[in-house]
């Protein structure tokens, strides 16, 4: 029988910044016990020896200052709790200690455990409960933005665990190049917010292929005119700035930017697709965060297949080399489509950002050999039309839903 998967023509990925699953969606455990969020059994020790529990006290802005450290050594501390033994096991007990290292203030360090109430985030929590929320979507690396975003574009970070510029190493190509060079040709675009916000993938994509990029205004127009490419990747506004049309508040949700501005942005993207009935019927939207930003999450990142690269002990800053054989901290991820059954929770399957090029490649191109081991082994969030695995198709309805939520944007 035909399902929503057969209708799918466009995939849109919106990647936000620096918030963990528990911080944004942890409150939903109380609403639906299948969602692996916050419970009162969870805690982290502070540096004074007290046990700090997660509390629903997160604020939209002004609370996480300084920006919590999420570079490789700090995330190592957050995941392993400061244990340096050879046989150490991850325990997620080092978040408060890590934040304490930045300001030396015990009380302030406890704020890293705060999470949002469901009512604080009406957009993200509604979409999570209405469509498919992933319990096990992790950052690709226990490290910062640039290397994690690289996994979304290339399926690897080419051995980088830091924020330095990296070079694309053959034979791996970006997902955009794979699509536009395919026969038959596919279309792909990266929509940055505007030229003043620009992109986080400067050194390879913007510098060499600026024609791949459009603005958020173009995305809105492409939605209205039915001109959306097969694959779209949207970047939020990374900075506060002014334009002729007025003040543009950063909406990436990176601390210390306003979380409500990001909520509004997510709602706008969703509603723009939804308001074009033809597009709504044949588009899937993935909302995902690049990494946890140093903020508490309780789920231990699992080991994974090593990549073809090794980061040296010097590059990791931990005294240990890293073979890209463990995922980063868990992040919020939600798949939206009117063909997904309401209140779907993807409970046990493991995903990371390598799943993005992995899914897009398999869906549009089928077999494609020149991909990193991490990407080849990453699970896909949308099944290939030709060979969906039984029970894995999230767009499983055979009639489109008419009860999907609307936001006043």
């Amino acid at each position: 029988m035909s399902t929503g998967l057969d209708q799918l023509q466009h995939i849109v990925v919106l990647m936000m910044e620096n918030r963990s699953f528990d911080h944004m969606l942890g409150s939903l455990k109380a609403v639906d016990s299948r969602i692996d969020g916050v419970t009162d059994q969870l805690s982290n020790p502070d540096t004074a020896g007290a046990s700090v529990k997660p509390q629903a006290l997160a604020e939209f802005q002004g609370q996480l200052d300084p920006d919590p450290d999420h570079h490789f050594p700090a995330v190592d501390l957050q995941i392993f709790g400061g244990n340096a033994a050879a046989d150490r096991q991850p325990n997620m007990q080092g978040f408060v200690k890590s934040y304490f290292n930045q300001r030396g203030d015990v009380q302030h360090s406890q704020k890293i455990m705060y999470y949002f109430k469901q009512a604080d985030l009406p957009v993200l929590t509604t979409l999570a409960l209405e469509f498919a929320v992933f319990n096990r979507w992790f950052a690709s690396i226990p490290g910062p933005t640039i290397c994690n975003r690289a996994f979304a574009h290339y399926g690897t970070s080419f051995g980088r665990v830091d924020m330095s510029p990296f070079d694309v190493i053959e034979p791996y190509k970006s997902i955009y190049t794979r699509l536009i060079n395919a026969n038959p040709k596919h279309t792909a675009k990266v929509y940055y917010y505007d030229t003043t916000s620009s992109t986080m993938e400067v050194v390879n994509l913007l510098q060499n292929q600026p024609e791949l990029f459009g603005t958020y205004e173009q995305f809105l127009s492409d939605c209205d005119k039915g001109l959306l490419p097969d694959y779209s990747f949207i970047e939020p506004n990374y900075n506060d700035h002014e334009t002729d049309s007025g003040e543009q508040v950063a909406n990436d949700q990176h601390p210390d930017h306003d979380v409500q501005a990001g909520e509004l942005f997510i709602a706008e993207v969703y509603m723009r697709i939804k308001r074009n009935p033809k597009l709504w019927a044949n588009t899937a939207l993935l909302i995902v965060y690049d990494e946890h930003g140093g903020i508490y999450d309780h789920v231990v990142p699992p080991p994974c297949v090593p990549d073809n690269f090794t980061a040296s002990a010097n590059n990791t800053g931990t005294g240990r080399e890293f073979k890209f054989d463990r995922l980063g901290v868990r992040v919020p991820a939600i798949l939206v489509s009117p063909w997904i059954p309401k209140n779907t929770v993807v409970t046990d399957r493991v995903f990371d950002h390598a799943s993005i090029p992995g899914t897009i490649t398999k869906f549009f191109l089928g077999d494609y050999a020149a991909r990193s081991p991490r990407e080849i082994n990453a699970d896909v969030f949308i099944e290939p039309k030709a060979s969906p695995r039984p029970g894995s198709n999230l767009l499983s309805l055979n009639a489109m839903r008419t009860d999907c939520p609307e936001f006043d944007v």
């Binding site: 924020m163 510029p165 916000s197 990374y238 506060d240 950063a250 936001f407």
Partner: protein, 121 residues
């Protein structure tokens, strides 16, 4: 289903271009500087990035270099295709380059800050 209200952030509270620049934006600046060094001289900004302290200053630099990269590629494409429109674009760009970029003027971050996207042909 009822329409769900999305609270708007107070722009007055949220907007702060004078916020100290984050390490993420400084990284973006350094990547753009890496790209800027590969641009022909006439496209370069000469903004002193080590003096960038605020988000607004970073934003001004990010816009300048992003537009310059796009302009350099657009002009190269116009030359390659030799289209009528491209040639006209090239002439206009050349004239603009002459008036704006020669001689290269030193810019401080503050003088580079302008309202609105810069008009480029």
């Amino acid at each position: 289903m009822a329409v769900i209200h999305v609270p708007r952030p107070s722009k007055k509270k949220a907007m702060n271009p004078n916020r100290p620049v984050s390490s993420l934006l400084l990284t973006q600046v350094s990547h753009l500087q890496h790209a800027e060094r590969r641009l022909p001289l006439r496209y370069r900004t000469e903004i002193y990035t080590h003096a960038i302290r605020t988000e607004g200053e970073a934003a001004a630099y990010i816009r300048e270099v992003t537009e310059a990269i796009r302009e350099a590629h657009a002009n190269a494409a116009a030359r390659r295709t030799g289209t009528r429109r491209g040639r006209r674009g090239l002439q206009i760009a050349a004239a603009a380059a002459k008036s704006k970029r020669k001689p290269a003027r030193k810019k401080t971050v503050k003088s580079a800050k302008k309202k609105g996207p810069k008009k480029r042909k």
